[in-house]
């Protein structure tokens, strides 16, 4: 468990999440891809905090901010999914050709 292995693991999570966010048709699966990317970002932040920041508390603070971003992304994402579903009966990205009603 070194900084390099931790960062490579974070890179793998971010890569998988990027693949998911690009390839999935369903809105909710797309959001899962974004969450996986944020997961990798959090891991990288904690790894830097533990190995190259001399334990400065700002590293953990950054992780808490990313967690808050994740919660906001999920809440707003679901609200938008509900709104789009009400307006267009669409649950996949391809069912939408325009954002305006």
């Amino acid at each position: 468990m070194t900084l390099t292995t931790l960062l490579v693991l974070a890179a793998a999570l971010i890569g998988i999440g990027f693949y998911g966010a690009l390839s999935q048709q369903s809105f909710v699966m797309l959001m899962m891809g974004l969450e996986l990317m944020l997961n990798g970002a959090m891991l990288a932040a904690v790894a830097f905090w533990a190995y190259s920041g001399a334990g400065a508390p700002e590293g953990q603070l950054l992780t808490i901010v990313i967690m808050a971003v994740m919660a906001i992304e999920m809440a707003l994402g679901f609200a938008l999914v509900v709104a789009v579903f009400r307006a267009k009966q669409a649950d996949t990205t391809e069912a939408l050709s325009e954002l305006k009603q």
């Binding site: 960062l7 693949y19 998911g20 808490i64 679901f78």
Partner: protein, 210 residues
Amino acid sequence: MTPSLATHIAFVVLAALAVLSGWRVFCTDSMVRASFFLLLSFIAVGGIMILLTAEYLGVAMFFMMAVEMMVMALFMVMFMMNPAGLNPMKMVHQERVAIVAGVAVFGVLSAVAVLGDFPDMPLPAEHAPVISLGRELLGDSMLVFETAGVVLLTTMVGVVVLSSRRGRYGRADEGSVPPGLEPGGEPAGRPKESEEEKGEEGGHAHQHHH
């Protein structure tokens, strides 16, 4: 910080679990199963955080993600065509581009990790991570923390506004029809009700989407 052999083994197991379950999220047939795989990936990363002595964050990750993935599984059941995985399905587009982009991102980021020269300043042995985080949150970084709280409150208000049925310009679902059982098919459910509404309110349910 000198990790023991048990820490190394735990790290390898958790890392494999995080990557494999993260990968399975986008391979599995069932959307609910996909959300539980994502939960597994988050829990593995939370475990790695605990190994890195960031106990508070690791435990917070467990609780937060357990709840979040429950909500996600619920939404899957509400919105997905195939919630329980009864039929095999694969809902992807531009898959080859996405695979190339994902591999490229992994390659670039891990090249940064391997080739980059990062400062080697590990945690001091007597460091108390939870205490220092608490001091930081309620001391120097109070403004950041409070801003996050206000942003979360704003999000809650925004979410309620976005998902409310009655908006500034009338009912949010006005003019919509229930989704079809198959794409482009006849609307399923509520047929009687929409007939009545059409009679009462002057026929707003004409907007069929193709």
